[in-house]
């Protein structure tokens, strides 16, 4: 083997990661995007707090996987739903784990969405040019809460039923639209036979589809616009140049910074 420079460890790693990528690229051309995703540059000073977004994505994937398994055993019918929940929890092999992970994963998902949002707020990462991605995130938060609301009815126990009564009535107080929203949600005057299948369809088809699509857009924008440096970092990417004019390595940066932008030095 050829002798390697001291920095070759990274090159080795990169080469190993590239073997399957090359295979895919040769046959589909898809690999370019994956490669771009993996080897795009991020600021060197990124922080552990910036893993909250991918942590939220992981929680969503847990919900998706456990949700599919639950759908194999759950029966969205007022006469059978409760019994199927008892069976999943107490009889089906590892059913308790799948249902438990789905139940508690929902709370973890919501908490992580709030933490991720707080991080973006504190870093000022919603500012130009990332405004649209912030709005997509707000949409994801709203859809995620609606997922929680529709999923809460499905166990069809007393907690589920009465919480949904309260939740549906809260929607009913909306001016003008209220009665129509209530009618749509419970598909009738009271919560009944059709309500549970309606919530089920929203919970496992409509909302996850919408969330999945928005997550795709969210990630596309993250990759396109880049990750922000922590605002307190002295090396923050995009910071004002202290010394106007050519910088130490003089690659013409000065021409891009207008004189008026140099004072005040916001990051």
């Amino acid at each position: 083997m050829a002798r390697r420079a001291p920095s070759s460890r990274r090159q080795q790693l990169e080469r190993a990661a590239l073997v399957p990528v090359d295979w895919l690229e040769e046959r589909s051309g898809l690999a370019g995007g994956i490669k771009y995703f993996l080897f795009r540059k991020v600021p060197a000073d990124i922080n552990w707090m910036q893993t909250l977004g991918s942590a939220t994505l992981t929680a969503f994937i847990v919900q998706a996987v456990t949700g599919v398994v639950l759908a194999m055993y759950y029966k969205p019918d007022p006469d059978a739903a409760y019994a199927s929940i008892l069976r999943i929890t107490n009889d089906v092999t590892l059913g308790w784990l799948v249902r438990g992970m789905h139940k508690w994963g929902a709370s973890v998902f919501i908490i992580l969405m709030f933490f991720h949002m707080a991080r973006v707020f504190l870093f000022g990462a919603y500012k130009y040019p990332r405004e649209l991605n912030w709005i997509v995130g707000v949409g994801l938060l709203a859809l995620g809460l609606f997922e929680g609301f529709t999923g809460y009815l499905l166990p069809w126990d007393e907690t589920a039923y009465w919480a949904s009564v309260v939740g549906i009535n809260i929607n009913g107080t909306a001016p003008i639209l209220g009665p129509f929203i209530v009618q749509f949600l419970q598909s009738g005057i009271e919560i009944g036979e059709d309500t549970i299948s309606r919530f089920y369809a929203l919970h496992m088809l409509v909302l996850p589809g919408a969330i999945g699509g928005l997550i795709g857009l969210h990630l596309y924008l993250v990759v396109r616009l880049g990750v922000t440096s922590p605002p307190w970092s002295p090396e923050a990417a995009g910071r004002e140049r202290v010394e106007p004019g050519p910088s130490t390595n003089g690659n013409g940066r000065a021409g891009l910074v207008r004189p008026g932008a140099r004072s005040g030095a916001p990051r």
Partner: protein, 275 residues
Amino acid sequence: MSTRLEQRRAQHQRYKEDVKEHGKPFFPGAMWHDTVMSLVVVCVIIALASIWYFTSGENPEDAGLLGPRYTEEADAGTTNFIPRPDWYFYFLFYLLRIFKWPDSVILGTVGIPTILLMLMVGLPFFDLRRERRLLRRPVAVVAAILVVLSMGVLTYKGATQEEALGGDATVVADWVDRNNLPASAREGATLFNETGCQQCHVYLGSGSANLGAPDLSDIGSLGGKTEDYFTRYVANPRTFGNNVMPVYGQANGGSLDDQQLGNLAKFLAASKGEG
């Protein structure tokens, strides 16, 4: 002088150059961090599921450290179950204790959530400064602290709210005594207590104030509220512009017949408050 937009564009251009020059590839460093964090998340979820399951029993009464596996099967006829949403809606739930039907309930149910949503969506458009350091964003920091504090307090209050139950027969005797109810109102009082009215209404300190429903202890002393008025109101609150309270009249798809409605109305009309 350059415009604000030009300054922002120049800043993003500098950002791209800095990252290109001094940044590091997402793989492996940053991706490793993401992977570790994701594993922590999965482990926490599994741990919560395990604690929940192994400390609880098959019986709905055998609640563990993280609550029961399930409560009893849903029953629309239950009168004594306290409705309560999942924890992340407690703040909204508690807002409805503050804003009462009919005057301000819309503020709590629709107004404040809509305002919050609009503030969140609009944030990048109100805050046009490029400054990202916290110490130089006092308004943003104060707003964040206030939002976190108020959400925390509302969630805590919603979680610890003590509720009085309906469906307790001894309560009815107490009402008759304290509110000087005539014999004709007793039938209605019992019905009120058994039908689940107290899931939303408070009567002489018993029941829960949900959805901004008013205290009914002295509803009969308010002007113009006759037996006939109460009969029609309870039969179909929609005709009075109330879209929150369920419809009770059988003619409108509810669960109470005319005689029951009449008894309830007698009870409400006789409720003039203590003393």
